[in-house]
Symmetry: D2
Subunit: 310 residues, 4 copies
Amino acid sequence: MQAIVKAARAPGLSVKTVPKPVAGPGEVLIAVRHAGVCGTDVHIADWNPWAQGRLRPPIVVGHEFAGEIESVGDGVTGLRAGHLVAFAEYIVMPATNVLTLDGGNIPTEVGAIMDPMGNAFHTVLTAEIPGSFVFIVGCGPIGCFAVGIARAAGASKVIASDVNPKRLALAAKMGAHVTINAAKDDVVKTVLAETGGEGADVVCEMSGVPSALHQAFAAVRLGGRVQLLGIPDGDVPVDFANEIIFKGITVYGVIGRKMYQTWHQMRRFLTSGQFDPRPVITHKFPLAKIDEALAAIRSGDAGKVILEIV
Amino acid sequence: MQAIVKAARAPGLSVKTVPKPVAGPGEVLIAVRHAGVCGTDVHIADWNPWAQGRLRPPIVVGHEFAGEIESVGDGVTGLRAGHLVAFAEYIVMPATNVLTLDGGNIPTEVGAIMDPMGNAFHTVLTAEIPGSFVFIVGCGPIGCFAVGIARAAGASKVIASDVNPKRLALAAKMGAHVTINAAKDDVVKTVLAETGGEGADVVCEMSGVPSALHQAFAAVRLGGRVQLLGIPDGDVPVDFANEIIFKGITVYGVIGRKMYQTWHQMRRFLTSGQFDPRPVITHKFPLAKIDEALAAIRSGDAGKVILEIV
Amino acid sequence: MQAIVKAARAPGLSVKTVPKPVAGPGEVLIAVRHAGVCGTDVHIADWNPWAQGRLRPPIVVGHEFAGEIESVGDGVTGLRAGHLVAFAEYIVMPATNVLTLDGGNIPTEVGAIMDPMGNAFHTVLTAEIPGSFVFIVGCGPIGCFAVGIARAAGASKVIASDVNPKRLALAAKMGAHVTINAAKDDVVKTVLAETGGEGADVVCEMSGVPSALHQAFAAVRLGGRVQLLGIPDGDVPVDFANEIIFKGITVYGVIGRKMYQTWHQMRRFLTSGQFDPRPVITHKFPLAKIDEALAAIRSGDAGKVILEIV
Amino acid sequence: MQAIVKAARAPGLSVKTVPKPVAGPGEVLIAVRHAGVCGTDVHIADWNPWAQGRLRPPIVVGHEFAGEIESVGDGVTGLRAGHLVAFAEYIVMPATNVLTLDGGNIPTEVGAIMDPMGNAFHTVLTAEIPGSFVFIVGCGPIGCFAVGIARAAGASKVIASDVNPKRLALAAKMGAHVTINAAKDDVVKTVLAETGGEGADVVCEMSGVPSALHQAFAAVRLGGRVQLLGIPDGDVPVDFANEIIFKGITVYGVIGRKMYQTWHQMRRFLTSGQFDPRPVITHKFPLAKIDEALAAIRSGDAGKVILEIV
C-alpha cells in the first residue's frame, strides 16, 4: 500500500509502498479514506528541532484519519468490516480507540478532522455561549471551527480577528458577524465598538501570538472569560494588575478535551446539522501530492488541508 | 382617554373614557401602543373566585404594556418624551421600573410581551442548552417562546407536545424539530425514539397538567433536568423513587426570573435577531375589541393575543 | 472458612463453614476484617417479597466489606498480599474494583462502611455547604454521616430531625448544632426559628417518610436546594405550586454516587481527620452473632452495625 | 474631636482636633470605636507618588471603621442611635452604606476589619474548598484570614508560605497545617510533597511578588485553580504554555467582592463562630499612637493593626 514516509533524518517526506498491516487481537485494520494534514506534519517534513528531538526515521507519517474498517482482529466486538470510523493515531489500532461515525451520518472527510475540531469544541463550550458576545482571536482552522461552533451554540455576536484576509473570509463564511484585520485595524477599539463599549463576554485566543494575547485581555469585558488554546513561544510579559486582576476575569488554559463529553457534543452538533465544518476544508489532495498539501499550509492562506485516498 | 375597565363585581369588561393620568415626581407617563392580553385578564373578565378575592372594581385592567413616553415628572433623568419603553404594571409608573427598548431596535409589539417572554427565557436558559435534546411540554405562548429560545441557544433537537394541533403548528413555526400530539400519540415513547432511547437532556414543563408532569419525568434522561413553570391545581401524586430519585434528575421550580440577567439576555437575543417572538402573536385587536381578544384566548387556539392602540 | 449463609427460601440466616475461594486471573482474595450490616441484609434474613423476587439460596450473604489482601491472581499489578482494601461485593473480586485504604491510614472498620458513607458524601457535597444552614431529615446511619460531613465541609449551622431520641443523640455527637424530635416538636417552625425565619439553604431528606418529605419542602428557603436520598414507598401527593414552583427551589434525586469523585473526596475527609464516622458505629459483633446484629438494626435505635472477623 | 490628619503635601500624619460632623438627611453619625490601619494609610503617611497623585491635603485619613451610631439624620429608617455598625468610608455616611453588626454579635474590633476580610472571603469562597488542598501564598493579614477561612470552609489541608517567620507563625495560629519559609525552603517541592505529588487544588496568591506568582502556577495541580489577589508592580513574564495552558488551569482575577453575597457569607462564618479573625489582630493602639501603628506595619512583622477609640 502507499504511505507517506519520513525516510531519513533530513527535510522532506516521500510517498512509498509499504507492507499492509494486519489487525492483531483486539485491533482493527482501517482503510483510510481521508486524513488531515496539520502543522505538526509540516514540522516533521521540515525536520525542525522539535521533530529531530522526538522522531526516529524511517516512520510512516500522519494522524487525524477517518476511514472504513477492513478487518477486525480476534476478540473485537461491536465493530466489523464496513463500519466508518475516526481515530487519532495509527492505521492498525486498538478497537477501543476507534470512534464510529454514526452509521455514516458523519462523512469520513469530517471524521478525519474530528481531532482539531475537538479542540475548538472544548475551547468554546467550556464557556457560557448563549446570548454572549464572543471574540475569536486567530482564524486558522481551529479558530474558524470555533466561529461556527459559537454561532451554533447561540452566541449573539461573533467577532473574529486575523492578519490574513483569506482566513478572515473563511471566518465570515463560518458565520462571524464581524471580522477584523489585525494588520490594519485597531482590534481592541473595534471589539469595544461592536459590544456597546463593554468588551466581549468570552474571548478564545487561538493564535499564540503575544500581541494577540494582549488584545484578548484588553477586549474581554470586566468579569469576562478568556480561553487560551494558542501556545506562545517563550515568555510573554503580563501586566497582571490591569490585564487580569482589576478586570476580575477568568482565564482558562485549554489542554486537550474532556474525552467523552467533547466527542458526545461534537456528534450532536454534526448529526443535527447545526454545525458544518466543511467550508473550513479549503484543500483536498490525493496522497501522492503531500508536498502540495504542505505548501498550502505553509502559504498561511489555507483552512484545513486533507488528503483523500480513493 | 379610552381604557378597559372592570366596572362592577360581575362578569364582563367594558371600554370607557377615563381621565388621562399625570406623571408625578420620579414618574413617567406612557402612551401605550401595544398591550398583551393573558389568562389573568380572562379571569378578571370572567370574575372567577380568584378575581373576586383580590380585586375591588371599578378598576382599569391590564398589564404587559409597551409604548412611548409622553411626559416625565420632576426628578426623572435618563428618560424623556419619545423614548420607547416596556413595563409591567401601570400607565403612570416609577421611572426606575421602565425598560427602554434600545432606541427602537425592539418594536413595541415585542416590548408588550417581554413579561411572559421573560418567563420563557428564565426557564430555558437556566439549563445547559447547546447541543442538548430539549423537550417542551405544552405549547401555549410561553411554551412556543421556549421552543424558539431553545433553538436560538443551540439545542440540537427541540421536541414539543400539546393536545391542540394549532398550537403544535405554532411550535413548529418557532423551530420545533418534532411535534407530538399528546391527545393521539404516545408522548414518552416518541421522545425516547427521537433521542436514541435515552430521553431528553432538558424538559421544560409549561402546562401544569398532571398527566404532562408525569410525561416530563418519564421523558427526561437519567441525570437530566426538569424545569417546572406550569402550575398544577392541587396535589399531584409523585412516585419519588422511580420518577426522581432513581433517575438522578434535578428538578427546578421556575418562579419569575432573575430580573437583571433575564432582561439582559432577552435584549441580546432580540436585538441580534437570533430569536423573533412575533410568529407567536396570532391575534391583534384594537382596544375596543377586548371581548374578541378574550374570546380568542378562550378558544384555546391562540398564541399570544395583543391589543394595539393607534 | 466461616460465612453467613442464606440456606433456604425461608426466614433466617445461618453461620456455616464454606470452602475458601481462590483468586483467579485479575482477581484478589481478601481476608475480610470488618463488614457492615444494613437494611438489605435484614430484608434477606426476613425473606421479604423483595428478597424472594431476587435471590436463589443457598448463597453467602453480605456486602460492605473491608479487609486485607491474602493473595492475588495472575496479572494483578499494583496490589499485593497485606494491602488493606475496601470493596462492595464479593470476597474474591476483580482487582479493578478494589480500593486501597491508603497504606493503613483508613482502618478496616471504616473501610467496611465506605459504601453507605459514599451516599452521604454525594448527597451533601453536591450542594454548596460552606457558610450554609443545612437541615438533615432523618438520623439513621447515613443521616448521621451527613451531619458530620456537613460540619466538616463548613456548614454554619447543622439541624437534624428524627423521631428517635437515641438517633438524635448520635446526630448531636456527630456535630449537629440543633436536634429536633419530630415526634414531639414542630419541625418546620423550629427550622425557621433557627434560620432567622428564612429556612435552610440545603435540606437533605434521608428518611423516605412522606411527612418528612413535606417538612423538607416547607423548611427549605426560597431558592434553596433539597437533596432526596430517602426512598418513599408508593406515591406521595405533592403541591407543586407551593412546595416547589413558587419557592423557586432545586430538587436533586441522589442515586448512587459519582464513583471516582466521591471516593476521592471521602479519602480526603477521612485521612485529614476532618471527618470521623466512628461514633456512628454503635454496635460491633463477631460473625457468629449475626442474629444479634440484625436485632440491633430492627430495634431502630442502632447507628451503623458491623461484624468483626478476628 | 480627635482625628488623624494629612495636613500638608509632605510625609507624615498628625493627630488634630477637628469639628465633629453632623448627620444630614439620610445620613448617620458614627462614633468610631475601632479602625483598621492598612498599607494604603502607610502610602498616605509616606506621601508616595500614588498618594501625591490622588490626594489634596488637608484631609482626615482612614477607612475600615466600626463603631456605634450616635445620631441619625432625617429620613433614616431601620437604624438608630446605639446600633453597632461597620462601614468603609467616612465618619458621616449615607445610611444605605452602613452594615449593622447583628445586634452586637460581631464586636467592633472585628467590624473594623470586615473590608480586608471581605477580600479574603471572596478569594477563598469563589473556589471549591471542601475536601481540597489549599495553598495560600503570602501571609499578610489577608493571607492569614484566608488560611482561617479555608479551614472553616472544609479544606482537607491548608499550606501557607511567606518569607517572614512571624507571619508564618500567625498563619499556623489561624490553622495552616503546613507552613513554608519561602526564604529558606523549596516552596514548590514542599507543596508537591504535601499533596501526594499532585499539587494543590486551589492556590490563593496574596503577595503580588513575581517569584511567588511563578510558585503559584508551579504548585497548582493539573486542572486546578489559581486565585490572584496580590497585585504585582509592572509586568511579569509568563510562560503561558507550561504555566497555564498545558496545565489546563483556571486563573481568576479577584477584584473587590460580590457585595451582598460576600457580606452575607462573612456574617455566617463570624456569628457561627466557625471563623475567628482576632488572632490576626496583632497590634492595637490608641488613636494618638498612629505613628507606632504605621511603624508596626512597616516592620513587616505585623498581622492586622487597628486603632482603638475609647
